[in-house]
């Protein structure tokens, strides 16, 4: 009986061992219910010990974990809201309901083919406390999609600037004033801009904002939001709209003395394939001129400086 038990144990260990496959270097063993064990490539390569004449050299590592295998998957940094948003919504990594190359506009009210998502207005003041009115003064109907704080019928945010860089409305402090709006495409410019990869496009916009002396907080907000919300296409053409385009398209009146208002809205047009003028199916032409010539200057310092950034996509 004992011999039988030993035999059963021996064969069960052997069969289990034979099912466990050894994977070559650069591969890792995984197990699934349908396929069983198999070798798949590692996402991150294993560190190789340096080879000497008689095999691997084992120097005393300064860090005891330096040869510990890397994690299989290292996600890029994502803000807390992106994790939650992905959990609930299938299109979190898009600026809205999406159909290449733009936003599905039938989901939204109003008119205008340029969907300006998240223009954020920041303030930088030398005064600790200062009353302000920020009024959208267009004579035409404005197609807002969202606002924070609530924008009343007067289309005016009234409150005070507190702590030099915050807005206070109804006893609540806001880091920025926020609105989503639809703008007419014919009032935007599509001659000046740059085309590049997605990652370079984000870097280019950040650099452009830095040139106009946007605050660190506003730059951080920009990067955090748009690294998540710009869809993952290979290439983008950026058509920057500055005060020259935005002031006529969406006039704003701010009744505070000694102020300036620098406005920037980047209209992004994605391209799935490499940028080729002849093969491009986009209805928007490739930009041909340098956008920086239109960039507002931030050389003259004012007592109160308002700056807004936004990113827009075309609606279809």
């Amino acid at each position: 009986m004992k011999k039988l038990l030993i035999l059963v144990l021996f064969f069960s260990i052997k069969s289990w061992g034979s099912a466990m496959i050894e994977c070559p270097h650069g591969m890792m063993r995984i197990w699934t219910q349908t396929v069983g064990h198999q070798c798949v490539p590692r996402f991150n390569p294993e560190p190789q010990l340096p080879q000497g004449c008689f095999g691997p050299i084992s120097p005393l590592p300064q860090n005891p974990f330096s040869y510990f295998p890397y994690p299989l998957y290292q996600p890029a940094y994502q803000p807390w809201w992106a994790h939650q948003g992905n959990f609930y919504y299938p299109n979190l990594n898009y600026p809205g309901p999406w159909s290449y190359p733009g936003i599905q506009q039938h989901h939204y009210p109003g008119s205008g083919n340029v969907f300006a998502a998240k223009p954020n207005v920041y303030v930088d003041s030398i005064h600790k406390n200062k009353k302000f009115n920020f009024k959208f003064a267009s004579s035409e109907k404005i197609s807002f999609l969202a606002t924070t704080p609530f924008l009343p019928k007067s289309q005016t945010w009234s409150g005070k600037i507190v702590d030099k860089d915050k807005f206070e409305l109804d006893d609540t402090a806001y880091d920025y004033l926020f609105y989503d709006v639809r703008l007419p495409k014919e009032k935007m410019q599509f001659d000046r801009g740059v085309c590049t990869t997605r990652s370079e496009a984000i870097d280019w916009m950040l650099k452009d904002l830095k040139e106009m002396k946007y605050s660190n907080l506003s730059l951080q907000d920009f990067e955090e939001h748009w690294r998540v919300k710009i869809p993952d296409y290979s290439y983008y053409c950026i058509y920057p709209q500055y005060n020259a385009q935005l002031d006529p398209a969406l006039p704003v009146e701010i009744d505070v003395d000694q102020h300036s208002f620098i406005r920037t809205l980047y209209v992004l047009v994605p391209h799935k394939d490499e940028l080729d003028v002849e093969k491009s199916a986009s209805e928007v032409p490739f930009p041909t001129q340098d956008p920086s010539e239109n960039r507002p200057t931030a050389k003259i310092k004012r007592e109160i400086e308002f700056r807004e950034w936004g990113v827009a996509f075309l609606g279809y």
Binding site: W80, Y88, Y108, P109, L145, T148, F150, Y174
Partner: protein, 128 residues
């Protein structure tokens, strides 16, 4: 007056109604679509955010289509609102979900039907 209006309108479109009572129904059928057409196709959902002490000082407010299926629950807009703050989403008539979430794990969700009025939501963030 109504009788005359019914006769003239329904006769113009050759409605197959012989008596005046049926013609009045015809009038109603003509008027209802006109009223619906005249109603604004644009509404808004507004709200204010409040929170328990355990919650964060800011909440992300999400607006999506009101769908059970994840794939259909398209996110339309979202905005980060400080506690005590207010917001406004301009929307077409329809059914929506307003969800709020924050870094501390507090949540709020409400289904909103936007038809003739502009709903206001008091969002109370709570730890689930």
């Amino acid at each position: 007056m109504i009788d005359a209006l019914s006769r003239s309108l329904c006769a113009k479109i050759n409605a197959p109604f012989s008596d005046i009572y049926k013609m009045k129904y015809c009038l109603i059928l003509l008027i209802i679509p006109s009223i619906l057409f005249a109603l604004p196709s644009e509404h808004f959902i507004s709200g204010k955010v409040e929170a328990n002490k355990v919650c964060s000082k800011k909440a992300m407010i999400w607006l999506s289509l009101d769908k059970e299926n994840y794939k259909d629950r398209l996110l339309l807009m979202h905005t980060l609102v400080p506690v005590g703050g207010t917001f406004k989403f301009n929307v077409r008539p329809g059914n929506y979900q307003v969800r709020a979430s924050d870094e501390a794990g507090c949540e709020f969700v409400k289904k909103v039907s936007v038809r003739g009025s502009d709903p206001h939501i008091s969002i109370l963030m709570e730890k689930k």
